[in-house]
C-alpha cells in the first residue's frame, strides 16, 4: 500500500519539523538550572499543560493501535479515552494533584520516600524507569511501521531520524520545550486525524450513512464478559476505570510531572480539567477512522493497517504531508515526554539520591541532559529489537503498564489516604502485587501453559486489564496485613504526607 509524497507534502512536513525543532531549541536558551530542565522552572501555564497532557497520552501507538483496535474490535476501545481517562482526571485535578504540587516534590517516588522510605521509592522508580525505557522503543517502532507502510521508507531509518529529532530539542529544552512543543503537536494531531475522519465520512456518504452501516456489536461500548475482544465490561470497569486509569493520571511520572511544573496549584488543577475536556473529543478523531476503515476496507489482515490504508487511499496530495506531520506530532509529543520524565527519575531517584546527594542545580542539568541522550540511544536499540515481535503495538504497551500499575496505585492511595500504612507494608504489597501480575502473565502464556500442561488462566485475548485488578487487590491485602503487623510510622512523617 506504499504511496509517494509530493513536493508539497515534503514542504508541509518540513515546515512542521523545522518549527518544532526551532521552538524547542529557542526555549532551551533559557534553561539554566535543573529545575528549569525538569520542571520548566515551575512557570508552566494551565492551557499549555492541559494540551501537553493530551498530546503525551495520545502517542503514535495510539493513533495506529487505537485505530487498529477499533477496526478489529469496534468502538469499545473508546472506553480507554472516556471512562478510562475523564473520571480519574477530574478526581486527580480536585484531590491528588494540588496535594502533590504543595509537597514540592519533583518525582512521585520522591513523595513515596517522604511518606514511606527509600525502599518504596526505589522499587517504584525502577519499575517506572524500566517501563518508560521499553515504552520509548514501542513508540519509535510504531512510527517506523507507519512510515514504512505508507512511504516504503526503511524502518531503521525512520527510528533513527525520529529519535534524533526528538532527542535534540528534549536534551536542549527540557520540560518547558516538551510542554510547548506538545501544545503545537496536539493541535496538528487533531487537525490531521480530523482530516482523515472527514474524508472517510465523505467517502461513505456522510455520518448518518456511516453510523447506520455499522453493526450493533461495532457500536457497543459495553461488551459482555465472554466477548472475544480484550475489552469485556469487567476489565473496562474494574481494571481500566478503577485501577489503570487512576494509576496513570495520578501516579505516572510522565503525566504528573507537567502538573508539578505548573505556576500554582490552581494552574495544575485547571490543566487537568482542561485536559479532561479535550479527552472527551479524542475518540472521535482516532477511533472514528478505525471504524470508517471497517466499512471501506473490511479485508485488512491486521487492524494496525487501518489508518495507513486510509491515508494511502483517501488523502490527496498535500494532505498526506499534513497527516504525516500529525502522526509525527503524536509520536514526538509522547517520546519527548517519556524521555524527559525517565531522565528525571534517573537524575533524582538514582543520581541525586544515591550517587551525589549534594549535586547543585547546574550539575543536575548536566546529568539530565546526559541521561536523556543515553535514553535516546537505548530507545533506538529497544525499537529495533521489538521490531521482531508480531503482537499489536498497543497491546505491548498496555501489558507492560498493567504489570505494576495496580500495585503502584495501591501504594499511592494507601500512602496518601491511610496513616497506618507503613513502609514495610507498602514494599511487601507492591512486590507481592508485581509478582502476582507477572505470574498471571506467565500462567496465561501459551508456551508456559503447554510446558506445564495447564489451561491458560484467562479466556480472553490479551487480558492486561485483569492483571491490574488482581495486582491491585493482592497489593491492598498484603499492604494492610503487613502494615497492621509492623510499627506505625511516626506522626511527624505522616503529618505533611497524608490528607
Amino acid at each position: 500500500m506504499s504511496t509517494t509524497l509530493t513536493t508539497l507534502d515534503f514542504v508541509l512536513l518540513g515546515l512542521y519539523l523545522a518549527g518544532t525543532l526551532g521552538l524547542g531549541l529557542w526555549i532551551g536558551r533559557s534553561v539554566r538550572t535543573g529545575e528549569d530542565f525538569f520542571l520548566g522552572g515551575r512557570r508552566l501555564p494551565w492551557w499549555a499543560i492541559g494540551m501537553s497532557l493530551v498530546a503525551t497520552d495520545i502517542g503514535g501507538p495510539d493513533i495506529i493501535g487505537v485505530g487498529g483496535a477499533a477496526y478489529s474490535h469496534g468502538m469499545a476501545v473508546a472506553n480507554f479515552e472516556w471512562i478510562g481517562c475523564v473520571p480519574a482526571m477530574i478526581v486527580g485535578a480536585l484531590v491528588f494533584i494540588p496535594f502533590f504540587w504543595r509537597t514540592g516534590v519533583t518525582t512521585i517516588p520522591e513523595y513515596l520516600e517522604r511518606r514511606f522510605d527509600v525502599r518504596v521509592r526505589t522499587a517504584l522508580s525502577l519499575c517506572w524507569q524500566i517501563f518508560m525505557a521499553c515504552n520509548l522503543g514501542v513508540m519509535l517502532l510504531a512510527s517506523a511501521r507507519m512510515m514504512s507502510e505508507l512511504f516504503g521508507w526503511g524502518e531503521t531509518t525512520c527510528i533513527l531520524v525520529t529519535a534524533l529529532l526528538v532527542g535534540t530539542y528534549t536534551i536542549v529544552g527540557g520540560l518547558a520545550a516538551v510542554v510547548y512543543t506538545d501544545m503545537i503537536q496536539c493541535s496538528v494531531m487533531i487537525v490531521g486525524c480530523l482530516g482523515v475522519l472527514v474524508l472517510g465520512l465523505i467517502e461513505l456518504g456522510g455520518p448518518a450513512e456511516f453510523w447506520s452501516r455499522l453493526e450493533p456489536a461495532q457500536k457497543a461500548l459495553v461488551l459482555p464478559v465472554d466477548t472475544d475482544t480484550p475489552f469485556p465490561w469487567t476489565g473496562i470497569l474494574f481494571g481500566l476505570a478503577l485501577i489503570l486509569s487512576p494509576a496513570y493520571w495520578i501516579g505516572n511520572q510522565a503525566i504528573v510531572q507537567r502538573a508539578l511544573g505548573a505556576k500554582s496549584a490552581f494552574q495544575a488543577q485547571a490543566a487537568y480539567v482542561w485536559g479532561a475536556m479535550l479527552k472527551s473529543l479524542i475518540p472521535v478523531i482516532i477511533v472514528g477512522p478505525g471504524l470508517v476503515a471497517v466499512l471501506l476496507y473490511p479485508d485488512l489482515k491486521q487492524g494496525d493497517h487501518a489508518f495507513p490504508q486510509l491515508v494511502a487511499v483517501l488523502l490527496p496530495t498535500g494532505l498526506r504531508g499534513i497527516f504525516l506531520a500529525a502522526f509525527l506530532a503524536a509520536l514526538m509529543s509522547s517520546v519527548d515526554s517519556y524521555l524527559n520524565s525517565a531522565s528525571t527519575l534517573v537524575a533524582y531517584d538514582i543520581y541525586k539520591r544515591f550517587i551525589a546527594p549534594d549535586a547543585d542545580s547546574r550539575a543536575m542539568l548536566r546529568v539530565g541532559r546526559r541521561v536523556t541522550a543515553g535514553l535516546v540511544v537505548w530507545a533506538i536499540v529497544c525499537a529495533l529489537l521489538m521490531a521482531r515481535l508480531d503482537q499489536g503495538i498497543y497491546t505491548i504497551f498496555q501489558t507492560l503498564m498493567s504489570f505494576f500499575q495496580g500495585p503502584a496505585l495501591a501504594v499511592l492511595i494507601a500512602g496518601t489516604l491511610w496513616k497506618r500504612a507503613t513502609g514495610t507494608g507498602a514494599l511487601v504489597g507492591f512486590l507481592g502485587g508485581l509478582m502476582t501480575t507477572v505470574g498471571q502473565f506467565l500462567l496465561n502464556n501459551q508456551a508456559v501453559c503447554r510446558y506445564l500442561g495447564l489451561k491458560p488462566l484467562f479466556q480472553i485475548e490479551d487480558p492486561f486489564l485483569y492483571y491490574s485488578i488482581w495486582g491491585f487487590l493482592v497489593s491492598c491485602c498484603l499492604l494492610v496485613a503487613v502494615s497492621l503487623a509492623t510499627r506505625r510510622e511516626p506522626d511527624e512523617k505522616t503529618a505533611l504526607t497524608v490528607f
Binding site: 473520571p87 504543595r102 457497543a220 459495553v222 464478559v225 488543577q269 485547571a270 475536556m277 506445564l452 479466556q459
Partner: protein, 78 residues
C-alpha cells in the same frame, strides 16, 4: 489440559459477572460520572492557602462538571 484452584476461582467470578445483565452494566457506566458530577457540584473546591480565589474555584467546578456531563451523555446515548 489441567486446571488449578486459580482457574476455579476465576471461573466462579466469571460466571457471577456473566449473570449481570448488560443493561445494568450500561447504567453503572453512566452512574460513575454522575456520582462524580454530584460530588464536584457539592464539594469544597480550591484551598485559599494556595491562592485559589472563589472565582477560580468556580471555573474549576464548571469545567469539571462539563467534562463529566459529556461522559454522562456519551454513555447514556451509546
Amino acid at each position: 489440559m489441567k486446571t488449578t484452584f486459580l482457574h476455579q476461582i476465576g471461573e466462579t467470578i466469571r460466571n457471577a459477572m456473566a449473570a449481570v445483565p448488560l443493561s445494568l452494566v450500561g447504567w453503572i457506566f453512566v452512574a460513575i460520572p454522575l456520582v462524580l458530577l454530584i460530588w464536584v457540584l457539592s464539594a469544597r473546591i480550591g484551598d485559599p492557602d494556595d491562592g485559589i480565589e472563589p472565582h477560580k474555584a468556580r471555573w474549576l467546578r464548571i469545567g469539571a462538571a462539563f467534562a463529566l456531563l459529556l461522559q454522562i451523555v456519551i454513555y447514556g446515548l451509546l
